[in-house]
């Protein structure tokens, strides 16, 4: 659990972070979103004390971060940055094993852990262990970055625009992988991004920052439903908000049982999102879809009319 109480940071005359309070529960993925220069990165780096805060308190599991030795503190917090920051003169395996080695784990244990992580992140050991960072693609390098952050099994993971420098397809793949990973590992994650779609897709809790202050925080759906002001609304995509919300909802949540009527001709997998379903309806100009399971067997139906009715009771 991470708690920030009225935290402030000034650089000279400029106030980068202005009295923010925030609580990230254990196992929660919290996304800090905002335009560049809003103080989100500074906030992140105050948690592992790469930047020291000027005012307020930051607590990890109830203890102020200042009470820890800063080096020891950082070794128990995973840290991933946009440009990966991999050491170019070390192999992939050596990069990943950095923190366990700093913690003086025995050699065999470090090696086992490195191999375990490489498998977890889809990097075949035989192929990648002895490669150097410059021989990796952007996506592979960022996987190594995530593996390195997870190496000593920290409870907390800080990620500073980790996928910001990747092409859209690689980014989407890594976002999916992170979601799967998080469902399995339940780390407490603070994730900084300026990409609202990324935040909506990954976050349990969204924190919108502007000019060093928190403008609004809540679950993605809460924010979409009731943006606090026009700034948050525009950040959320203005008129696209409906579709963004629909993207967060699975078809299965609005599925109706199969009725006596004929099956609709167009099909949609039950795991698809509502926005994908709407897209299929628009494309085929139909108002009903048959929902199917993994084996393409009909298990229910989706009706546009009921969908609209469900929204306005």
């Amino acid at each position: 659990m991470i708690e920030l109480f009225d935290v402030t940071k000034r650089f000279g005359d400029e106030t980068a972070v202005d009295g923010i309070s925030l609580r990230v529960e254990k196992g929660e993925l919290c996304a800090l979103v905002g335009t560049s220069g809003c103080g989100k990165s500074t906030t992140l780096r105050m948690i592992n004390r790469l930047i020291e805060h000027d005012g307020g308190e930051i607590h990890l599991d109830g203890q102020p971060v200042r009470s820890f030795d800063e080096v020891a503190l950082r070794r128990r917090i995973g840290y991933v940055i946009q440009s990966t920051g991999l050491f170019p003169h070390w192999t992939v395996a050596r990069n990943i094993g950095l923190v366990p080695r700093l913690l003086k784990w025995p050699k065999g244990k470090v090696r086992d852990r490195v191999e375990e992580l490489m498998q977890l992140l889809g990097l075949p050991v035989a192929e990648f262990a002895d490669k150097y960072p410059r021989q990796l693609s952007g996506g592979q390098a960022q996987r190594v970055g995530v593996a390195r952050a997870l190496a000593a099994d920290p409870d907390i993971l800080l990620m500073d625009e980790p996928f910001g420098a990747l092409d859209p397809i690689t980014r989407a793949t890594l976002q999916d992988e992170l979601r799967v990973l998080q469902a399995r590992l339940h780390k407490t994650v603070v994730f900084v991004t300026h990409d609202m779609d990324e935040a909506l897709a990954l976050a349990d809790r969204l924190v919108v920052m502007h000019q060093g202050r928190i403008v609004q925080q809540g679950s993605p759906v809460e924010l979409l439903r009731e943006p606090a002001n026009p700034f948050v609304e525009s950040l959320l995509g203005g008129m696209d908000r409906g579709l963004k919300e629909a993207a967060l909802i699975q078809v299965s949540e609005h599925m109706l049982p199969l009725g006596p009527r004929l099956l609709a001709s167009e099909r949609i997998p039950y795991g698809a999102s509502l926005s994908q379903a709407l897209s299929v309806m628009l494309w085929h100009r139909v108002d009903r879809l048959t929902v199917v399971d993994e084996e393409d067997i009909p298990i229910g139906e989706l009706s546009l009319r009921r969908l609209l009715g469900a929204k306005v009771p």
Partner: protein, 388 residues
């Protein structure tokens, strides 16, 4: 491999044309009956009826033709031709010597003429061009010189006794060996000391911006003093010190000799050294440093395990530049009695004996090239992530 139409390699053809022209028109050798009388110059075509020179010009022109449509085969063939020519050159010189130096001239001295120097120089340039075009590694490039070196070694040890350069060498072979030693000792001491002093200076500069500003200012100023003037400026204070402080006098510190030479060389070496070490350390990717700190490396660990190893190739680049510069500057140190190869240069200038000047200058060039290649190769090896 498909034969793609290549545009002519102008570098190759113009270098080779120039080499041919120089070879056939300029003076190749000069023969003097003794050290005092100026020599009689001969063009290559005037020696042995000129046919060997013409014979050598034929493959040179062939390379010009091959450069018109350069493909891999043609370039490899050209490489062979150039290597053969480089190896033949000393043998031609030996033949010319045998013909031109008659038994009634026991003190005869053979001088190398401008045609030979130019040919040697241009052929080496062509060799570099061909090595690059054929994508050969540095190490392989050095191997290409072996036939030429063998040729010279053979000619010098068997037939070229009347070569003026060799006569100068034989007259002072002991002096030559100790001059090389002194030269290397001075360079080594100056570069080594400047590496240590520069490292300490850079560490202080990184801590305090004040030291940085003053440090670079002083070093930049030092660099602008002409070397001869600096030697002169050191004369008085060091002579004074040597006279006053007994243990310094025992060490040999005085206004002339190794002490002022060493100090001046150290002064000149500091700027390139400091600048390279400073830049090398500062220019390590900040993201890498940030992540090293973020991962929980202590200050020392960040410096020793990340910053320093990543900076090392650039630091070595500084050592390389400094060493090459110091090898050249040490020649001037001969003027204040520090010894070294410069001694021959200045004695030769004084006696108007150009061959003696060469006896000093050629080894200096050789030393600089070897130092450059060795340190360059070392820095290449230390590049992060191996030589990918």
């Amino acid at each position: 491999m498909g034969e793609t139409r290549q545009s002519p390699n102008w570098v190759l053809s113009s270098l080779m044309l120039a080499a041919t022209a120089a070879w056939l028109t300029l003076d190749a050798v000069s023969i003097a009956p003794n050290r005092i009388v100026p020599g009689t110059p001969y063009a290559a075509l005037e020696v042995v009826g000129g046919w060997p020179a013409l014979l050598m010009a034929v493959p040179m022109l062939a390379v010009v033709v091959l450069a018109w449509r350069p493909n891999r085969k043609g370039l490899t063939l050209s490489l062979g031709v150039v290597m053969a020519l480089l190896a033949l050159l000393p043998l031609w010189l030996a033949a010319a010597t045998a013909v031109l130096v008659t038994p009634d001239m026991p003190q005869a001295r053979v001088g190398i003429g401008s045609a030979l120097w130019l040919l040697l120089f241009l052929l080496l340039l062509v060799l570099i061009e061909l090595r690059t075009r054929l994508g050969m590694s540095r190490a392989l490039g050095w191997l290409l010189l072996v036939p030429m070196l063998l040729g010279w070694w053979l000619a010098l040890s068997l037939w070229l006794e009347p070569l003026a350069l060799l006569r100068e060498y034989h007259a002072r072979s002991d002096q030559f060996a100790s001059a090389v030693q002194q030269h290397l000792a001075l360079v080594g001491a100056a570069v080594g000391a400047s590496l240590v002093v520069a490292s300490l200076l850079v560490l202080a500069m990184r801590r305090h911006t004040g030291v940085r500003r003053v440090g670079f200012g002083v070093l930049n100023f030092l660099q602008t003093i002409p070397s001869l003037a600096l030697f002169g400026l050191l004369l008085a204070p060091l002579a004074w010190l040597g006279a006053r402080v007994d243990w310094l006098a025992v060490l040999g510190v005085s206004g002339i000799g190794w002490a002022p030479a060493f100090l001046a060389l150290l002064g000149y070496s500091l700027l390139p050294m400091v600048r390279n070490i400073f830049v090398a350390l500062e220019e390590v990717d900040p993201a890498v440093i940030e992540s090293a700190r973020g991962m929980g490396m202590a200050r020392r660990q960040v410096f020793l395990q990340v910053r320093l190893p990543l900076a090392l190739p650039v630091v070595l680049e500084g050592v390389r530049i400094t060493t090459v510069q110091a090898i050249g500057l040490t020649a001037v140190a001969a003027l204040i009695g520090a010894g070294g190869l410069g001694t021959f240069i200045f004695q030769g200038l004084g006696q108007a004996a150009m061959d003696m000047v060469l006896l000093g200058a050629l080894p200096i060039i050789g030393l600089a090239l070897v130092a450059d290649a060795l340190i360059g190769a070392l820095s290449e090896r230390l590049r992060p992530g191996g030589a990918a």
